[in-house]
């Protein structure tokens, strides 16, 4: 399932992430090394008893600039927090000087944008009242396009703003779409990534499918029993022609299962195609990968499918793990968050073994790391899979 044209390596000239394990690269890195989870028991009002979640602290206190006040919602507040982290917004300003504001696109993924505002608006109606309160701003909060519009205006950019919403592959998929925009010459830099925030719809929706874990999620454990939902923002500034040795996206691939809306293909056929496409696009054999950051949601079906898919392509030769025991499953942001984690793993030579897992499922045949390992890493592959049978794999490394 590869593109006919080879993938042009993309320079990652700035990146940042905010999740339950912390705000920014230093906090994220420290939590990974110290094996400190960001998950905690859900509050009573979340309506999912027994479930754990990955909540970002301090979001309620984030105010957007007055001229963008109509965009105020938890999702855009998380975007605002991340833009102000690790000098990301400053790096975009520098890119604006290099390329011009009109040559920088914003391409961001989200599954639910600011839908928590709509949930609150529904709850805020007087009994018997159907209409939503007058102060509710649908277009700038709930609407998927609210996220890239907010970020574009916040960063003073004048290129196209686009929103990807392919469920849990949204964040990863923006990298592939950014590559298309850059290759087609429609822009010279792209602010890519994803932002998704906790809301009742996803918590109670996953509960309705009986996919929420009792206690913290433990991906790849024999007795794993589901997902912990989290929230996160991950941003990557992508440009053409990385300098030799610079951090880069070396390949990307996508596929569809064409099988079922919410269950993965049992043999992982779609996952194999996406990983194969990413390898082919980068012109790399499987053995060139040093570590695989799994989608690893912690559900019985996903992890078993992914193990089969990884084993088929890589055998037992490449260490794998999921970092969702740290952050929870951050849905439309997960691909962007985990691309940032992949970059940290590359820089630190770190394989962060699955958290809270004594031993991997004995039925698994891939090399699942359950403790942290140190190893020089040249390339990391990151997987994202989602409802609707959407699959996307990214390869990060050095140009």
């Amino acid at each position: 399932m590869t593109a006919s044209a080879p993938f042009p390596p993309l320079a990652v000239t700035a990146f940042t992430a905010v999740s339950a394990i912390g705000r920014g690269l230093a906090a994220t890195r420290a939590a990974l090394h110290q094996r400190q989870s960001g998950l905690s028991a859900a509050a009573k009002e979340d309506g999912v008893p027994g479930a754990w979640i990955g909540r970002v602290a301090g979001l309620e206190a984030v105010a957007l600039p007055p001229e963008l006040a109509a965009f105020q919602c938890r999702n855009n507040a998380l975007a605002e927090m991340a833009l102000a982290t690790d000098g990301f917004a400053g790096a975009v300003v520098a890119a604006r000087e290099r390329h011009g504001a009109s040559r920088i696109a914003v391409l961001l993924g989200t599954s639910t944008a600011g839908i928590a505002e709509t949930e609150a608006a529904y709850r805020g109606r007087a009994p018997g009242e159907a209409a939503l309160p007058a102060g509710f701003h649908y277009a700038t909060t709930h609407d998927l396009h609210a996220l890239p519009r907010f970020v574009r205006r916040r960063l003073g950019l004048a290129g196209p703003a686009l929103c990807v919403s392919t469920a849990c592959t949204s964040g990863a998929r923006t990298v592939l779409e950014a590559a298309a925009l850059l290759r087609a010459g429609l822009c010279d830099a792209v602010v890519a990534g994803g932002v998704d925030t906790l809301c009742r719809m996803t918590l109670r929706g996953f509960a309705s499918l009986a996919l929420l874990s009792e206690g913290p999620s433990r991906p790849c454990a024999a007795d794993r029993n589901g997902i912990s939902i989290g929230e996160a923002a991950g941003f990557l500034l992508l440009e053409r022609d990385p300098a030799p040795g610079a951090l880069a996206v070396l390949g990307a691939g996508a596929s569809s299962d064409g099988h079922h809306m919410s269950s993965p293909h049992p043999e992982g056929l779609g996952a194999v195609l996406a990983m194969r496409a990413a390898l082919d696009s980068a012109g790399l054999p499987p053995e060139a990968i040093g570590y695989i950051n799994l989608h690893g949601t912690g559900t019985r079906a996903n992890d078993a499918m992914e193990d089969r898919a990884v084993s088929q392509l890589f055998g037992a030769g490449v260490p794998c793990s999921s970092t969702k025991g740290w952050t929870g499953h951050t849905l439309g942001a997960s691909g962007a968050l985990e691309a940032v984690i992949a970059a940290l793993c590359l820089e630190d030579g770190l394989i962060p073994g699955c958290l809270g897992v004594e031993a991997a499922d004995p039925d698994f045949t891939s090399d699942i790391a359950t403790g942290n390992r140190a190893a020089p890493l040249a390339r990391v592959l990151s997987n994202s899979f989602g409802f609707g049978g959407s699959n996307c794999s990214l390869i990060l490394g050095r140009a």
């Binding site: 399932m1 593109a3 006919s4 044209a5 009109s102 696109a105 599954s111 949930e119 529904y122 159907a130 209409a131 939503l132 509710f136 649908y138 277009a139 709930h142 609407d143 998927l144 396009h145 609210a146 519009r149 004048a158 196209p160 703003a161 686009l162 929103c163 990807v164 919403s165 392919t166 469920a167 998929r173 592939l176 779409e177 298309a180 925009l181 290759r183 087609a184 010459g185 429609l186 822009c187 719809m201 109670r204 929706g205 509960a207 309705s208 499918l209 691939g253 996508a254 596929s255 569809s256 299962d257 064409g258 099988h259 079922h260 809306m261 989602g386 409802f387 609707g388 049978g389 959407s390």
Partner: protein, 264 residues
């Protein structure tokens, strides 16, 4: 010349008084008058009966246009770009009501149908396609921005792309937040090469605003403001008439997506 260049090799359409691309060419080209009529959603022949029952009306709308545009082509070989501002509003509205009502549960089928890529997922199931598929939002700019991304994919990877844009009115009380008057869908198969193509299409984004089109025809006057996807009508009218056109779609926050259409 800059921009993403591709060829249009198939067209699909479904809207009020526009029951398919082939059936609407006389109306679009001005040879026949437009007669208002409700958008009729056909059952999706692509889907097996179980999936047909699960798929919502918005999915049927999208698949009708996508199926017509790809008729006679190997549908499973096409990369796809689906674009919709509202997605499946009926499903979303039902979930929001369930979240609000005391003691009410979210339906699992509704939850998996609520993802924005639901129509794309059903397309994959129905056509047995394993090709990459992306789903985009875009509020009132969903048509020009989605088309821009589809053209970028086609030009960047040198592969055929099915672009499908669709939108249906939201249920109350959400309908007041983003009004739409009727369901509307259109689809194009874009190809890198011109063989079998109807027209060449070059697309680009510009930071400068563009002037609103001087005049609208009767069809545009009736439909263009009623659904974000109906903003495709000037392009479809030119395509139906076989005439070249310079098109420009102003965007919400300034700037524009521009297109040059050149019949083969």
């Amino acid at each position: 010349m800059s921009g993403a260049f591709c060829h249009i090799a198939g067209v699909g359409l479904l809207g009020p008084g526009l029951p398919g691309w082939a059936a609407s060419i006389p109306v679009l080209s001005g040879a026949a008058p437009w007669v208002p009529a409700e958008t009729v959603l056909p059952p999706p022949p692509l889907l097996p009966p179980t999936e047909r029952r699960r798929a919502g009306a918005v999915t049927r709308l999208a698949l009708a246009a996508a199926t017509e545009a790809s008729a006679g082509l190997d549908a499973a070989a096409l990369d796809t770009v689906f674009a919709s501002s509202n997605g499946d509003g009926a499903t979303l509205g039902a979930i929001l009501e369930a979240l609000t009502a005391e003691g009410s549960d979210v339906s699992p089928t509704q939850f998996h149908n609520s993802v924005h890529n639901a129509a794309a997922g059903y397309w994959g199931i129905g056509t047995h396609s394993m090709r990459p598929s992306v789903s985009l939002g875009g509020h009132d700019d969903v048509l020009p921005l989605g088309l821009l991304q589809a053209a970028a994919q086609c030009a960047a990877w040198g592969r055929p792309v099915l672009f499908c844009a669709y939108d249906a009115p939201l249920p109350p009380p959400l309908d007041a937040c983003h009004p739409a008057a009727f369901p509307f869908a259109m689809a194009l198969v874009l190809r890198p090469g011109r063989e079998g193509g109807l027209a060449g299409l070059r697309l680009w984004h510009q930071a400068e605003d563009c002037a609103a089109p001087a005049t609208r025809g009767a069809l545009g006057e009736a439909l263009e403001d009623g659904n974000p996807v109906a903003r495709a009508l000037p392009m479809l009218e030119a395509l139906a008439a076989g005439r070249p056109a310079d098109l420009c779609w102003p965007l919400l926050d300034g700037g524009a997506v521009c297109a040059a259409l050149s019949p083969c």
